[in-house]
């Protein structure tokens, strides 16, 4: 609960905290207008929301790792008897 948000916004702060845990799985796309309004009015929740969105975006960029070609060949060999028969 963020002190600057006041009593009325406290419920919305709780809902936003729940929504934070949906970011990155498509849940944020269903963000209700009332929650968006709350983000516009609550600096603390807005900051949290933007931070988590940034984190997810950076993590996807940093941690996505294509499978090495040699592992692909080994996989094809095991599954279909193809690829690098020497390896």
């Amino acid at each position: 609960m963020h002190p600057e948000s006041g009593e009325q916004a406290a419920v919305d702060c709780g809902r936003v905290r729940e929504m934070l845990l949906e970011i990155g799985s498509g849940g944020e796309a269903a963000l209700a207008e009332s929650l968006q309004r709350h983000l516009d009015e609550c600096p603390a929740c807005s900051r949290e929301f933007r931070s988590v969105e940034t984190l997810v975006r950076l993590a996807r960029r940093a941690l996505h790792t294509p499978v090495p070609e040699e592992v692909c060949r080994h996989l094809d060999q095991v599954l279909f008897g193809e690829g690098d028969h020497g390896g």
Binding site: E28, E53, L55, A59, L63
Partner: protein
Amino acid sequence: MEIETPSALQKVEDNDLARRAAEGDRRAFDRLVHRWRDRLWSVASRMCRDYDDAQDVLVGAFSRAYSRIHQFRGDASFGTWLFRIAANECMGLRRSELRKAERLERETDRGLETRELPDLSLLPEEAALSSDLMDAINRAAGSLSEPLRIVFLLRDVEGFSNEEVAEILGISVPAVKSRLHRARAAVRTELEHYLAS
């Protein structure tokens, strides 16, 4: 800002490919392999750390999925089903380590709730694109305990829903949310000094 997530269309297409693979269409399964191998490798290589172990998990998961494709009913997405097989492959190697990590996690993660976390949206654009930051995220993710790391990778990197992660790992949705919250807090804390650069 909206983050790209796996589409419902992909689920339909994957399930159709799986159905064709179960009927003996090898190319359909090959297509599924091409769709999912990078994502599976991203997780396996960060959970196993060792290259050969990660390769064993990847190959083992696809081999089991291929031999059991006729058991895939399409209730869950193909990706959820595949990652559940992979998680079992991975945890078969590391179940005792996971239990140890869970105990350690309970002891060391207390106090996270009250910590002030950095505002990552304030990252300068050049810092957000730097290889230093990418390396830092890699290190931060790598330093998470295994139970937190697997949830962070499946949720925030691979885009599975909380419910799908719960199904993949065989844990409750509240447990997924709790671990995700703690993982994000830990990674954000590790990135704090980039805000000042």
